[in-house]
């Protein structure tokens, strides 16, 4: 459970020590337990970088030089998603700071705690359009939980403490601190034992037990209950309690993209992901349940489809920490506002042991209508992406006792990963859900791998997205040959856009064919071992080779070009209005037996 109070009022007051502003940044980070920062230096942040060196020498803080600031934010994001701690990124003023924005927006949309520090021109030049000046506080405000411009060194220690507090507490998010260059050079008094006094910041709303009871009563009465669980379950670390709830009352579970693995996907009550590319039966369950228990999710349009036909028959219970998400898209019948780590355990004792045989039987029949087994049951004679992902799952399950962390980019391969990889643990999949940021996979995987050096981390990307941030391959080497494995699902197209063009724009493939370099030669230039895979029978050996090779490894899967993600709910359609895979299915030669993969 997250710490509810960062203050330690019982201690003797800390004696302030004189310190330069630039050093205060690092001192505060050490106090916050930050070990790694991702950044790129430049003129306006130089004083701070200069004062970083003693912290690096003493091994307190490790600085990772990125090749583009967007990736500094993504790496901090990957670190934060993997650990649950606050990720930190640093950039200089102007272009450094504006380059961060995409990464910060990605983290903010997915409730990932990040503190970003940017240099700013000296206070006397503020507002003069000085060299490398940009209004970073103005530019970043819409994609931040909060932000600060520091023009006086006396304010800096408190601002640093507030920033970490705001980023971490409640629904996590991004806080940016823009620090003028002269403030970094100025000497002030540093102490860090402030009481946080933010009357307008209410991270943990009080829980109303009446409403928890109302929710429990509704669940106890339900005949066709369904849990729709999201990222909030992972943020509150309530996976076990969720499992207890659904097992006791026999409630099937659909997850959002970021909720994958909230309960093990191999569990009989798991229906997998719902929404735009969810299985037909998962969405059908949403449209047929009588009580929909939404937990730590925000009714994104990708999960609800057309809102005015979303779960109209159901009573909706919404467990949510962020009040503003309650009633934003869907108005619940029972809004349970508060920390899920408080509300769910409080509700559990009120939940009766129930069996829902008829409901589960019905779901079981629907489950025969599956786009996934549909394709899994065909033997492969061409290299298709779902097969590659399925093998990735087999291979990683065999290669490591701890579940692998899969970091995906955005697009078709991301949806295939959700469909064909069985996530049995929360947090196994790190992906940009809300913002859908291409180029996320490689840098976020670097962050996750640095957080867990011993775990198996796979970055799965398309040929389009990979080329957005491939310069970060250099970081893999500079950071001592990080053992990241990279799979490029290379279909020569911006696949998801092409799929939309095929389905909604009469196959006019404008701007979607992608020319790519030879990724194996490219990897060689970065001294990373790599392989091409063009045939199905090469897939398993390639994965085995990757797992057997110490250090990084890259596989370029040259998959069949025009394969679509099915089923698909067209944007703006109701979730039970599906576009299905045309028959015959993609594969030839049905063998009639369950294949080995």
């Amino acid at each position: 459970m997250p710490k509810k109070n960062g203050n330690q009022p019982d201690r003797a007051p800390e004696t302030p020590v004189p310190m330069k502003g630039g050093q205060m940044i690092w001192e505060a980070m050490v106090r916050e337990g930050v070990r790694v920062v991702y950044g790129h230096p430049g003129g306006a942040i130089l004083p701070a970088y200069d004062l970083l060196s003693p912290y690096e020498k003493e091994g307190k803080i490790h600085h990772v030089l990125v090749r583009h600031e967007q990736c500094a934010a993504h790496m901090a994001d990957g670190w934060a998603r993997a650990t649950g701690e606050v990720g930190v990124c640093v950039a200089t003023s102007g272009p450094g700071a504006t380059n961060l924005i995409t990464g910060l927006a990605t983290a903010q949309m997915d409730s990932v705690p990040i503190v970003a520090v940017t240099g700013q021109v000296p206070t006397n030049l503020l507002g003069t359009d000085a060299f490398q000046e940009s209004d970073v506080v103005g530019v970043s405000a819409p994609v931040c939980k909060h932000n600060y411009l520091v023009t006086d060194v006396a304010d800096l220690p408190l601002i640093l403490k507030e920033a970490f507090h705001i980023a971490r507490e409640g629904r996590p998010g991004v806080v940016l601190i823009d620090i003028c260059k002269d403030v970094q050079n100025a000497t002030g008094e540093f102490r860090y034992d402030f009481e946080i006094d933010l009357p307008g910041f209410e991270p943990w709303p009080n829980v109303d037990m009446d409403i928890v009871r109302t929710a429990a009563e509704l669940i106890n009465k339900a005949e066709r209950p369904l849990v729709l669980s999201g990222h909030g379950v992972q943020l509150a670390r309530m996976g076990r309690e969720l499992l207890e709830l659904v097992e006791r009352a026999e409630i099937p579970v659909v997850t959002t993209l970021l909720g994958t693995g909230n309960i093990p996907e191999s569990h009989p009550l798991s229906l997998g992901m719902g929404g735009m590319h969810g299985e037909a039966y998962a969405n059908r369950a949403v449209q047929a349940c009588d009580v929909l228990i939404a937990m730590g999710m925000r009714f994104d349009d990708r999960i609800t489809g057309r809102l005015d036909s979303f779960a109209k028959q159901a009573k909706i219970i919404h467990f949510e920490l962020d009040r503003a998400e309650v009633g934003k898209n869907v108005v619940p019948d029972v809004p349970v506002i508060g920390d899920l780590a408080e509300t769910l355990p409080a509700m559990l004792p009120m939940i009766e042991e129930r069996r829902h045989q008829i409901w589960l039987q019905e779901l079981k029949e629907w489950e025969t209508d599956s786009a996934q087994t549909d394709i899994i049951n065909y033997e492969v004679d061409e290299l298709i992406p779902p097969y590659v992902i399925r093998q990735l799952w087999h291979s990683t399950s065999n290669a490591s006792s701890e579940p692998a962390i899969i970091v995906t980019d955005v697009g078709q391969h991301q949806m295939w990963e959700c469909q064909y990889f069985t996530h049995d643990q929360p947090g196994q999949l790190l992906t940009s859900g809300g913002l859908g940021t291409m180029g996320f996979a490689l840098p976020a995987a670097i962050g996750a791998q640095m957080a867990f050096p011993d775990r198996l981390v796979w970055a799965v990307a398309g040929d389009g997205g990979f080329q957005m941030t491939l310069q970060e391959l250099a970081v893999i080497k500079q950071e001592g040959n990080l053992p990241i494995k990279i799979a490029i699902i290379n279909n020569g197209f911006l696949g998801m856009v092409r799929q939309w063009q095929q389905l909604f724009y009469e196959k006019r493939y404008t701007g979607t064919p992608v020319w790519s370099p030879d990724f194996v030669q490219l990897a060689a230039a970065y001294q990373i071992p790599a392989l091409h895979v063009t045939k199905p029978e090469e897939v398993v050996p390639a994965f085995e080779k990757a797992h057997a090779t110490p250090g990084p490894f890259l596989i370029d899967f040259r998959v069949k070009e025009e394969v679509n993600v099915y089923p698909m709910v067209a944007p703006g359609a109701a979730v039970d209005q599906l576009i299905r895979r045309p028959k015959p299915a993609v594969m030839q030669g049905y063998s009639g037996v369950q294949p080995s993969w």
Binding site: G138, A141, P142, L149, G200, D208, I211, G327, K328
Partner: protein, 190 residues
């Protein structure tokens, strides 16, 4: 429907742009916005008039409350309130109509704050409809310039602060019953 909201916020640099930026980003329609100091130093008070439906206003309140610098938000639309706005109106005059204008302004308890040979400035403070109606009358003489604030508002007859009470709760109480848990949480809860 028009809703009147009051928000209290820490008087920090950029707080106005945070609030207006959030309103623009979320596509909320603000009719008017007034900012000023309050009885507590360091706290500013904003009065909003928002045009929309109940769900939108519910979101406005919740999104405002999410801003770290905003300390309190109240929806006073359904309470008895005093709401006043002010206008300065430059009316074209001549020797013939000057006294007629003065009379009208007096009826409206306005003030003439400046007089020139061919124009005068009229000041009016009052509820929105009163200001509207005087402007309407004066337009017959020719208004050459006008500036008008939006309303500032305060709830009547209560000394105790009843912050964070949703309009659904006010309505329930007006109907002589206690609010249900669902109603209490409707616009953010207690």
């Amino acid at each position: 429907m028009k809703y009147t909201l009051i928000a209290w916020m820490r008087d920090k640099p950029g707080v106005l742009s945070r609030v207006s930026g959030m309103m623009r980003r979320r596509n909320f329609n603000i009719d008017s916005l007034q900012v000023g100091h309050t009885e507590s130093p360091g706290i500013s008070r904003m009065t909003f008039v928002v045009d929309g439906n109940e769900r939108m206003v519910d979101q406005v309140i919740k999104q405002l409350r999410k801003l770290v610098d905003v300390t309190r938000v109240e929806d006073i639309s359904e309470q008895p309130i005093v709401a006043r706005e002010m206008a300065l109106i430059r009316v074209s005059t001549n020797a013939d109509n000057r006294s007629e204008i003065v009379q009208m302004v007096n009826i409206y308890r306005g003030e003439i704050v400046d007089v020139a040979m061919d124009s005068m400035i009229v000041q009016i403070v009052g509820a929105q409809d009163r200001v509207d109606s005087l402007i309407d009358l004066l337009s017959n003489f020719g208004i050459s310039e006008m500036v008008r604030t939006g309303p500032v508002a305060m709830a009547r007859g209560r000394t105790e602060r009843t912050a964070r009470r949703s309009s659904a709760v006010w309505r329930a109480q007006a109907n002589g019953r206690d609010a249900t848990a669902t109603e209490r949480f409707k616009t953010g809860g207690v």
